[in-house]
Subunit: 380 residues, 4 copies
């Protein structure tokens, strides 16, 4: 149902994003979107970067009087640090781990791959986050709450994750790494500080949870409609993500069936004793909390020299050091929160239709009614 495109170069004057297909009537403010941009820029371990995104963000389409109109939702981020891209110093030494080398071959930029760097930069995720953040708001308005947090920084993993949305949110706000357990901050900070010292970088793991999602989003009838595939596709598309997991997928691959199945119980409605499946069975939400994890490689650009070569001369050269983040897992947890929101919102609109927020609320209400025997306490 939803279609999204973004455009603009990392150091161009504007980044723009357009999202087509959102219902009319959703309250949305620039302030709301800015909170995501601000959170995305944060997290300990980021380099010094200009804070231009916040100040120069604006909604430029699809909203009148603070509410969506059904027209394409569009955002613009103006770049106060824009440069004349034609005059950028030419780049000919590709950084391993980046788009530089294959991108130069693909688009014919072996003389100078500035165009590759400009578009493949994670800077694009600023406008993507902005334009998709409205899906997060929409879900919130229909009782579905999506939250992303950091699960591991390098080898330091969070040990204890609260069960409820509110508790996770509360604790995440206290952590400089967006952990749902600020007590891990100290260890992680030490690790990051060591990495900074050593000119190194770190990867890690983020997690996104979706609370309050009705059962039956996605479908088993056709593989392309399976929600797990759609989530995995979009999360893996995020820069530096190299693995995606639903529920405890990796761990249970080594276990026996008895240890992996989420048995039913009836207790004022249908409950599960565990949620190993991460809220998805048969490619559909099953009424439990949806749990998605993304595994990120360490950032490939680091002060410590890595070998590369000149695309023109084929002479070996160290890869250039352009960017200064040490770890971006916290930022990625924010973007992933929004990406997962997008997939869930898409599946909601597919299932419930709805040109207006009111229509969607009504259709979900009918459905909740239809299945209330199994989920009697559901809201809406």
């Amino acid at each position: 149902m939803l279609k999204v495109l973004t455009a603009g170069e990392s150091h161009g004057r504007f980044l723009v994003g357009i999202l087509e297909g959102m219902p009319a009537g959703i309250e949305i403010s620039e302030k709301y979107v800015r909170e995501f941009l601000k959170r995305r820029r944060g997290g300990y371990g980021r380099g010094r970067r200009m804070k231009f995104e916040e100040d120069n963000f604006q909604i430029i389409g699809g909203v009148i009087g603070g509410r969506t109109t059904g027209a394409p939702f569009a955002v613009m981020v103006e770049n106060s640090g824009a440069r004349d891209l034609e005059k950028e110093p030419p780049q000919r030494v590709p950084r391993p781990g980046h788009a530089d080398f294959p991108g130069s071959l693909k688009y014919g930029f072996t003389d100078n791959f500035v165009p590759v760097i400009e578009r493949s930069s994670a800077r694009e995720t600023a406008v993507r986050t902005a334009v998709l953040s409205i899906t997060h708001k929409f879900l919130h308005d229909i009782g579905i709450n999506v939250i992303g947090f950091t699960r591991a920084i390098g080898s330091i993993e969070v040990r204890d994750i609260p069960r409820s949305f509110d508790e996770i949110l509360e604790k995440r706000e206290k952590s400089m790494f967006y952990f749902p357990d600020p007590d891990v901050d100290g260890e992680a900070k030490k690790l990051v500080d060591q990495a900074i010292e050593a000119g190194e970088t770190l990867g890690g793991v983020f997690e996104v949870r979706v609370y309050g999602v009705p059962p039956g989003l996605g479908s088993y009838v056709d593989p392309f409609r399976r929600l797990d595939g759609r989530i995995a596709g979009i999360v893996m598309s995020l820069n530096a993500v190299k693995a995606v997991e639903i529920g405890d997928g990796i761990e249970i691959s080594g276990k026996s069936g008895s240890e992996a199945v989420d048995e039913f119980e009836i207790e004022g409605g249908v409950k599960r004793r565990t949620n190993r499946s991460g809220g998805i069975e048969g490619g559909m939400t099953n009424g439990e909390v949806v749990v998605v994890r993304g595994y990120m490689k360490p950032i490939s650009t680091m002060r410590r020299k890595k070998m590369s070569f000149d695309l023109k001369t084929l002479a070996m050269k160290p890869a250039p050091y352009i960017r200064s983040d040490t770890v971006v897992v916290p930022a990625a947890s924010v973007i992933a929160e929004v990406l997962v929101s997008y997939v869930i919102a898409d599946a909601v609109l597919e299932k419930f239709g709805g040109d207006t927020l009111g229509d969607v609320v009504k259709a979900i209400g009918f459905y909740r009614d239809r299945i209330k025997k199994y989920f009697p306490s559901s809201h809406l």
Copy 2:
């Protein structure tokens, strides 16, 4: 570019699949496709099942005189064990881990979810494998070879994977689990036999590798064109897969940047010292072998009782035991081989166009020429 649909119920008379968008001129035989079906039915740890797929498979569209015509490629699997689905005994006790419960709610089958079981069954993957196997052949014809194998059965993991396609193929054919190292068979068989004894099931890990793939498939310019996302999406859509990994994604998420980056070297062309990225950088192939892993949960249906309930009465009941496989990772490795082939073929056609195999060969040849400075020994 490619579009695919399948239809049919698990115990219906026919399963059909249609693939639209393949070039004309690809040699394909029913024998070729049957090899995939046969391999998919195999692997130690499967239950006794009728061998109907093989005998009754036929190509019913898009091939004349043993070559594709550009018209939709279509296959049919006739089911000698077809039943009158209207007269099936009603099902009201959902198996946890399956589509049964959310599917019944979604489509309104809480009185009897036979329709859910019939379509969500992994039986559909037979026709999917058949109809997509032509993409594997197409890739082979243009010098790209895709191979899937088993990496782990439960906790038993293969220790040593050969580097070349031919060696993997040779060893895989000797293993009853499709391991690229038949020496592990003994241990794995013991584990599976114990599981059978205990009424248990097992999960595991499969891997798919793509050899000979040109750099620059996929793109960084738009997230939806990133090849890693497209691969993750389709592999995660496979029944029982709960995590997808590109290269060593999970391991390197806990490492430092220096340990994760695949440095360049120049040695008769551009080489890498490692392939931690699994052949994909910036959402594109980079000229190295593409490496994809899928993590499978143990099959959710097992002889050992798991608690469920009656959808009508809400009374607790053990989940029914319908199917008798103990482990299906080997079968999944075959399907995944074909699914990954589909994504790569799609990206090839996107990049090179081509209404005929000859056109594609020409376009790839020209591209290999354009970048031969970096990959001088490439074939085609």
Copy 3:
């Protein structure tokens, strides 16, 4: 929302079609579908052809117990007149007006374009009609009725079209040309008989009307969501159609604004004095009857010789005479009825969502309520 593929060759053993995305719970029988196939084979002016379609049609997916299940709806037409396509006499003289020449160039069949003829034949529309006829049934179940009829055969045009669905239906059934006015049959028959005599063919015009459609299907917010574009796209895709018109589009292009606008009036709800717009304003249904016309060229294959050439020798030769219909506008009116149903059903599902027929009925009911001030007498 909906996805459809068909496959099979004109003289192959099977034609199959798959439609993905229909809600569960729609009553459908093979008899219902066969009526469309039968009607499609009819109409005066058709050549002698085998009646194989009717007897060998079956539904092979997506229906259990006479109702859709939400799984892909699939149909198969078995071809009792199937031939070994490899042994067909080679074709090298392209018929102008057909796919023969450009298709041979495109797919590399200049030595023998049997594969082009086999797929481009209008025979494919049999399975397309069958697989999409369920959308007609679905619309009927939610109070939307779609009817196609012949408007002109060659230069003979129907003069008087009844206003109501029932009257058109009643009259159409009495006409050998599917005119909504059987009194024109005589003239048209004379024209067709003359054409047969002269070895000629005829074109004509069909019309499709949609009654009971709620306002607001389609959207102005993005051109690709406009309903008029989607209808025009699919109707123009029908073999031999060379123009598509919504309402009185051609006539009013030469008139003044006053003569073209459909003024409002309030008379127990919102009414229009005219329906020049054919029920679509701003790319959306407006509550009036949707009116679509297709203009068909005469069939390009005729007994009367037309010049062509041998693709191998470039020697001039008359085009071969393969098929014997004189006029197919009545048949096309049936197919178009189904194609328009498909687009409307797609737009309904987009607007109202719905995994089950009951869900759709509920959502439409709520919408009809929401706008009942303007359409107080609307059903559902």
Copy 4:
């Protein structure tokens, strides 16, 4: 292959458009795009409007150093006449012939449908023209030239259309109506002046021709790949277009087969005696000039009063008069030129792939070679 989205409101601060999928290496300048915008604003019979589009247009993505980079191509039109949309006077009297009424019902704006007017306005076509004009340039670079012109203004039709692209271009530039025959200007001007006087509006017909297009774009193998359907879909989506015709489709629907078929002749390659089919056979280009016509209704807003009603009170009221164009067929011919270019470019990329302009040129060259027996004099 190509994806396009636009956003922004008619009187909002910005209109933006993004086109994803264009190859790298196409030379494009803001001046080139501005020519289209300027031409779109022209044509006799337009009302007084601010000329803001020209001055404030800029390319904001996908171009570095005057050439495309493969990244999404994006444009922005800044609106010097922007207004605070929240403070616009409420609108409650829908203009018949516009999106006002169905749009208000759909999106729930019956209290005030300013949001409908703001997005459904033809102003959106400014940014659409800008963002798609690059496809026109791309086609030009590969030897395909697309030209749009006016064929009729109301009842005044052009009598004589030159055969060649250059002649049409030359004559069109001399006509105030973009006729390919400026001699008709006088008559048309008289008609328009009368209409202005009478507070009336006029419709008409535009035509788009595509020269130099290789045979075999589009395909017969699947209806959705047919080029005629794709062209019809996008042209019908243009505001006020109510009919689309390929070649002489409407006229030949009333003729006999002999009068409609374009016979072959061999004369230094394959030629046709006529081009009744408008360059498309079997849903594919056939090597002849592609001819597309769009029939436009008169503009629905006119000074002369048309009856409408108040959405709140249901009291009859005359429709408001907001806009002052008398005829927009010339402008539409410009937009349609660009829309048809988009479809042709999409089909070119589908057939030839190509990440860079050079790759496309090479692939087309191979193909022209492959079929040069039939088209020996083709360029490239």
